[in-house]
């Protein structure tokens, strides 16, 4: 599949995962990510991989846990209410240092909410989500092509750090059809040799994979080791895109679908002579706080745009640390901001 094809985001996630060597998928249906589960049901057997429609998200993530510790590149996907259930297993994956990729095509919440696109699981995704001291690398792709590319990166990083990676999309990204080029993997995967997996203790001493660490002081030691990994991720894995920030008087900060709309607004106001720029975080954790901090003393203000009541805006405010005003424009409950709404807000602020 080295040519451009027209595919929806959910199917692209599936194909890109397969090309990245994913051979285990377990999931439970939920809109707006059902195309992915169905795609995996069809494609996994063709690739000699495993597809399981699990009895629940709790089971699906635990199946991924089992497949991962047996050495497979494994993933699961869901949308907001299902991701809440998966938090149990995500915490266990992080505690056990098991790689896995989890996809959340967010919908409106809280509760059952609705099936419209949203970005209101940002806190859950970037601040831990489940119990305990841990973080996930969280990607917030803004278009279908980027989604394809980040899937490969997600599996590589999950293996490199032995930690789960989360793809945070939304219903629009999942269901939108766009032309896409999915890199076809040729030859052997760049998959590190895993000398820690369980395969049966043949010709070696037995291995134990566990997160229960009872001996005094040992869990703290383990947690410090995890924190060391998270520190390296913060140093090495931050990704963002910026445009026009050098001479900007106002900088928009937005990710995923909101960032696409924000860019349209940016073009509108630029044609009116407003000097506006944008910072689009691609990793939501680790968060690109440095670039935000660096520009904050020379601009007029930030405007953060989200499909939520205001979640990522808190990270922007932390980075800015009072050096300039940070404004927010958000739609919630499945509402999607329009470029006109954002442009109006920008004009208001200047």
């Amino acid at each position: 599949m080295s040519e451009k094809v027209l595919m929806c985001g959910n199917e692209v996630v599936g194909e890109a995962a397969i090309q990245a060597g994913c051979r285990f998928y377990a999931g439970y249906p939920i809109t707006p990510q059902n195309e992915l589960t169905a795609y995996m049901a069809r494609r996994m057997p063709e690739e000699g991989g495993v597809f399981i429609q699990a009895e629940s998200e709790l089971a699906a993530i635990s199946m991924v846990f089992g497949a991962s510790l047996a050495g497979a590149r494994a993933m699961t996907s869901s949308s907001s209410p299902g991701i809440s259930l998966k938090q149990e297993g995500i915490s266990y994956l992080a505690g056990n240092e098991l790689p896995a990729v989890i996809v959340n095509m967010m919908r409106g919440g809280p509760g059952l909410g609705n099936i419209a696109p949203a970005q209101s699981d940002y806190f859950q995704a970037t601040k831990g989500g489940g119990h305990g001291d841990y973080n996930l690398i969280v990607f917030g792709p803004a278009n279908v092509q980027e989604l394809a590319e980040l899937m490969g990166a997600a599996f590589d990083l999950a293996d490199r750090y032995r930690n789960p990676v989360l793809i945070l999309g939304d219903g629009i990204l999942g269901q939108m059809m766009e032309p896409v080029k999915i890199k076809k993997r040729v030859g052997k995967l760049a998959c590190p040799e895993k000398d820690w997996i369980l395969t049966g203790a043949k010709g070696r001493s037995p291995r134990i994979i566990r997160s229960l660490i009872l001996k005094e002081g040992e869990l703290e030691k383990h947690n410090r080791h995890l924190q060391d990994k998270f520190r390296v991720m913060k140093e090495k894995e931050i990704l963002y895109e910026e445009e026009g920030i050098d001479d900007a008087e106002i900088i928009l900060v937005a990710y995923g679908t909101s960032a696409r709309i924000a860019k349209a607004a940016l073009n509108q106001v630029k044609s009116e002579g407003i000097r506006a720029g944008i910072i689009r975080p691609i990793t939501l954790w680790p968060f690109p706080e440095k670039v935000i901090a660096d520009v904050s003393s020379r601009i007029n203000c930030f405007l953060v745009i989200e499909m939520s009541a205001g979640q990522m805006v808190e990270d922007v405010r932390l980075a800015v640390s009072g050096k300039c005003p940070v404004h927010f424009y958000g739609r919630t409950g499945g509402g999607v901001p329009t470029a006109e709404e954002i442009s109006r807000k920008i004009r208001e602020l200047l």
Binding site: R23, F24, A26, V50, I52, A54, E55, S56, L58, A59, A60, S62, M63, V64, F65, G66, A67, S68, L69, A70, G71, A72, A74, E88, G89, Y92, N96, L198, T199, G200, A201, K202, G203, P206, R207, I208, I209, R210, S211, L212, L214
Partner: protein, 247 residues
């Protein structure tokens, strides 16, 4: 001189943390012996539960992992589907299997997962201090049924009988470790359950009635009698599905 009793190679030479008279130690030993006798130590992967047996991996000389409370069969499913040539078992208590993990056990069984489940029914939650389990007897006093369990808290749940109606289950057997004869039968059943998996036939489970003297507030000897007097009438022993013949 012929050595007639030694530590199975499948077990580590360590003390366990179990209470005096607890059944987990006996069941561990039987499991170790069976794994040795089948010659599968180097291709077996075990999944420990959340419960008193949570650190079972410290006692077995085989590859092992943990699972979130009750998700044990889901973790085993993931392992087995990736490594179909390996032998995969779960070891679960009645809280892990019959309360929080009811969904996972039913669906793993219904898919006919090629795994073996060692289900330790001690009619109580040991780990957390002796609360009611789904398998607690009517009238039994526990930390959360101070007046004895009455039916408004549910009846003792017969999981093996429930699983028997599922086409995916091949071998289901209930045994007890209340006396030497029953212990021998338990070992036979465990062996059979693993053979079913080795022959790739489907899902197998052995439910073992096991004493918890600490939370039954009985002596180890009384606890064994209590199994025979109180538990067996409610949880009849024997093969529930399949047959033991060629074990």
């Amino acid at each position: 001189m012929k050595k007639v009793f030694s530590l199975p190679e499948s077990m580590k030479d360590v003390w366990t943390h179990y209470c005096p008279g607890c059944g987990h130690g006996v069941i561990h030993r039987l499991l170790g012996e069976v794994i040795d006798e089948l010659g599968i130590r180097e291709k077996t992967i075990g999944v420990a539960p959340v419960g008193c047996a949570v650190i079972a991996y410290d006692y077995f000389n085989i590859d092992m992992t943990e699972a979130a409370h009750g998700r044990t069969p889901a973790v085993a499913t993931g392992i087995k589907r990736i490594l179909p040539e390996r032998v995969v078992f779960t070891y679960q208590g009645d809280g892990d299997l019959a309360a929080i993990g009811t969904s996972e056990i039913i669906h793993a069984a219904n898919r006919g997962e090629r795994i073996t489940v060692i289900f330790v029914n001690n009619a109580v939650y040991g780990m957390t201090g002796g609360q009611m389990a789904p398998t607690t007897m009517l009238g039994q006093v526990t930390a959360t049924t101070p007046g004895g369990r009455d039916s408004s808290a549910g009846y003792p749940l017969k999981v093996s009988e429930l699983l028997a109606i599922l086409p995916g289950t091949v071998f289901l057997c209930r045994t007890a470790i209340s006396n030497p004869a029953n212990i021998r039968k338990t070992k036979l059943a465990i062996k059979k359950a693993f053979q079913v998996q080795l022959e790739n036939k489907g899902f197998s489970l052995v439910e073992i009635l096991s004493p918890c003297p600490s939370y039954w507030r009985l002596s180890p000897k009384e606890a064994k009698e209590w199994i025979e007097e109180k538990m067996i009438p409610n949880f009849p022993l024997g093969v529930i599905k399949g047959n033991l013949k060629d074990a």
